[in-house]
């Protein structure tokens, strides 16, 4: 059964797919958001692919992006593996429940509410007080292992070498129960509204749990690997995976991922927060447009 139009994969498509992957790889890995927000519209609107093929191709490319980025982030000890696994235990059930909710209610109102929540998160990311906090995070976390009062908190405390600050940043994970509750609802929202997990993972780990922005981005990338792979395997089972579409996307996105990771490692925390804040505002505007049926 041929699910997709049998268009020859000419040179133009090959470069267009590779270029799309490259840009999505840079943005997705630098911000810990995967890159699906960019790929799906381009694959459907510009390249004319059916939506299911576009989503399936995007998911596979995101797995390639997140695996490449997670490999480098983890080697640099930026990834908090334990925190990532812990959050997975609530975001996956949240996503499953979100899938059921999506079947019974229209998500347009929720899109607007979520848009407002993203504006608030963006405001928090961009306010001067919070920006100052980013520079102080290492100082706050320097006594992490002494402050930690239980086994879980002690296990989640972590440290990494910050290239930009040229020092070891040690941090503790705050408000773990609140972070898990937020992670559960973020799983519901990401599934319900069809947005990438990174859009919510990064604010939850950074703003609620107090993880430095670089570690939050790296940990979000780690979380995305497994959630996206599970989704992509489902599309694979249903026959929506087209090797010749995915191949140039994956090549482009793996190159982009390496560039994005390098940018994140070299960038300052404040700059990353500003970029992520602007990114959240863009996603919020898209949510409002979705509510108004403009897109």
């Amino acid at each position: 059964m041929l699910l997709c139009r049998a268009t020859p994969l000419d040179g133009l498509n090959l470069w267009a797919l590779g270029g799309t992957g490259l840009v999505a790889g840079i943005l997705g890995s630098a911000l810990g958001v995967g890159g699906g927000f960019l790929m799906v519209p381009i694959l459907t609107l510009a390249l004319g692919l059916p939506i299911k093929v576009a989503i399936a191709s995007s998911l596979v490319a995101i797995v390639a992006n997140s695996c490449t980025a997670a490999g480098i982030y983890t080697k640099a000890r930026l990834t908090n593996i334990r925190l990532g696994l812990l959050l997975e235990t609530v975001t996956i059930p949240g996503a499953i429940i979100g899938g059921f909710i999506a079947a019974v209610i229209a998500p347009s109102i929720l899109s607007a509410i979520f848009g407002l929540a993203l504006i608030y998160a963006a405001y928090t990311m961009l306010t001067p007080k919070q920006l100052m906090y980013e520079d102080n995070s290492s100082a706050n976390g320097s006594m992490a292992r002494n402050i930690a009062t239980d086994n879980l908190s002690a296990s989640l405390a972590n440290s990494y070498y910050d290239q930009n600050l040229d020092k070891i940043v040690t941090y503790k994970v705050n408000r773990t129960p609140a972070g898990l509750v937020a992670g559960f609802f973020s799983g519901i929202l990401s599934s319900l509204l069809g947005i990438g997990g990174g859009v919510v993972n990064v604010p939850v780990t950074h703003l609620i749990m107090g993880v430095p922005i670089k570690a939050a981005i790296a940990t979000s990338t780690f979380i995305i690997t497994i959630t996206t792979a599970a989704g992509a395997l489902i599309y694979h089972f249903h026959g929506h995976i087209y090797p010749f579409i995915i191949a140039p996307l994956v090549i482009g996105i793996i190159i982009g991922a390496r560039i994005g990771v390098e940018l994140t490692q070299r960038a300052g925390g404040i700059l990353l927060r500003r970029i992520f804040g602007v990114f959240l505002i863009i996603i919020a505007i898209l949510m409002f447009l979705k509510t108004a049926n403009v897109i």
């Binding site: 059930p93 497994i226 694979h236 010749f244 579409i245 191949a247």
Partner: protein, 111 residues
């Protein structure tokens, strides 16, 4: 270097290696598939995965894609083994729960 740091380094090194190896081998297979595609006339029509047995380029690329999709699952299994080796019961349970939940979401989606 204390015991905790040694365990953390081992965990990070293995997880990183799994991701990098999975991505590198997948990329190599996909590039080989693209090369076969470009040097084989008439094989460039977009084909679904179910017909991959007809085109060798698609077969090679599809194996690369499958390996890529299985890499995160393999990584969690390796994490379970590493936590088991360090007798970290809490995170053995958490990692196994992640595997079970991923399997559950997959099963539900197929219903």
């Amino acid at each position: 270097m204390n015991n905790r740091n040694l365990k953390e380094n081992r965990l990070n090194n293995w997880v990183s290696l799994t991701f990098r190896l999975g991505a590198a081998v997948s990329l190599a297979l996909i590039i080989i598939g693209i090369i076969i595609l470009l040097i084989t006339p008439g094989a460039a029509d977009i084909q679904p995965l179910v017909r991959l047995d007809e085109i060798s380029a698609a077969t090679v690329i599809s194996i690369g894609i499958l390996l890529l999709l299985l890499t995160p699952i393999i990584q969690v299994i390796i994490t379970v083994a590493l936590f088991s080796a360090s007798k970290d019961r809490l995170f053995i349970g958490i990692a196994i729960a992640v595997l079970c939940l991923a399997a559950l979401s997959f099963a539900i989606a197929l219903l």
